[in-house]
Amino acid sequence: MLGLMLKDRAAIVGIGETDFAKRLEPSEKRLACEAILAALDDAGIAPCEVDGFASYTMETTDEVEIAKNLGAGDVTFFSQVGYGGGAGPATVGQLAMAIATGQCRVGVAWRSRKRGSGGRPWAGAQQQSASATWTRPHGLLRPVDEIAMLTRRYMHEFGATRDHLANVALAVRGMANRNPKAMMHDRPLTREEYMRARWISEPLCLFDNCLETDGALACVLVGAERARDCRRPPAWVHAFGQGLPAQMHTMVNYWCDDPLRGPAWTCADQLYRHSEIGPAEIAVAQLYDAFSPLVLLSLEGYRFCGRGEGAAFSEKGALEAGGRLPVNTSGGGLSEAYVHGFNLINEGVRQVRGTSPNQVPGAEACLVTGGEGVPTSAVILRR
């Protein structure tokens, strides 16, 4: 019955974000506060009304610091979600659950990160997980290497080519070219440039990789009654799922029965279980894109096509504006900003508000997903 309790019981009523750039001067804490205050302004809600927080375990600024800088009231719900890019939609979903069950009334989710000017997380020589013992000593070091291993297998099993990866990169870049806030707004990309780009980890090239960004984003959730009185049209949290499949290993998911059937499948089962909106009714999606192949895998996991059909689905401009399923309509992590996928949440809100830089006409609902390859999460936002 939890699904019935969650469905459309809470809504995102405010979104906010900083500029996005390779380097911003303010600290992650100041950027977080700036984004949260912008989201509260957008909602027309005073900071002293905030009584719930959700963010990422990787966030450097904790709730205590945020609350005391914002001037939040007495906070009665706070949670952090793990696994980096898998966490984004879960911050929204967990706040929606907290609001639906009366644990808080005004929830703020956020992510602030200086990945553009800061260090690369993989560059530390320390082993980061138990799995690392089995991979890093052999030179499988970075997230891009770990996903490239799955990508080459995917290409081998299903006949996918670099052209399919380019379909993703070019579609998302086209979105960014029409979004003045996107880091790649002024940088068109052609298929020829994609094919000539330098390798990062074969079979993945530069343009299969997300940007390195300094920036922060936030959103504000409230319950149904309050949402109807807010100054922006509510983006209802219609459905929510998380997924950590049996025998999964994070990023290096090579030791389960079917490594190409990733956490998106588990998450989607839960997401659609209580949803009145299925893949056939979803006309626009924000699919986590730290790497272009994750979009193809997510198309399959979230059931827009069958297993192994994501590459073919991407053909004929399907992912571009005006295509069968426009994705990452603000430019995503590949071309707008990479802030652990939180920009996908705010863009999902803009789609159901009707204010996207690449608005899909009449979009009733938008799927927003977290990272495929890590324990993940997803929400369906609706008008």
Binding site: A130, G139, L140, D145, L150
Partner: protein, 143 residues
Amino acid sequence: MSERLLPHVDEDSRPFFEAALRGELRIPRCTATGRFVFPPRALSPFAPRAPLEWVTVSGRGTLWSFVVPHPPLLPWFAERAPYAVVAVALDEDPRVRLVGNVVAREDGPIEEVDPGTLRIGARVRVCFERVNDAIALPRWLLA
């Protein structure tokens, strides 16, 4: 010379690396179901509380996938890039996919075999590089 990354040997992985020092590839197996379990851990996920037994396997398998990293990389690897990193599906259970490098000889450099010659499905067999007195790493020779 920059520093090489070594495995973190703990109570779960120690038998693997002790066997590797002896030139054996050993993989834990569930005593209740007979199913291989990798990476090593304390208990079998396939039967509650079932202990694991360590089994010496043939060391033969096929290339399941591979990548070719290019810089930026940690210095030890940047000096050797581009090199291939492979995942090998073991003959005994292809769901056990060991990550490693294809080499021309057991103590050969990781960049010696041209990645352009590798193909998914290629047959390989294990060999071991003794890195120090406590660690030997499995590596793969084209069979």
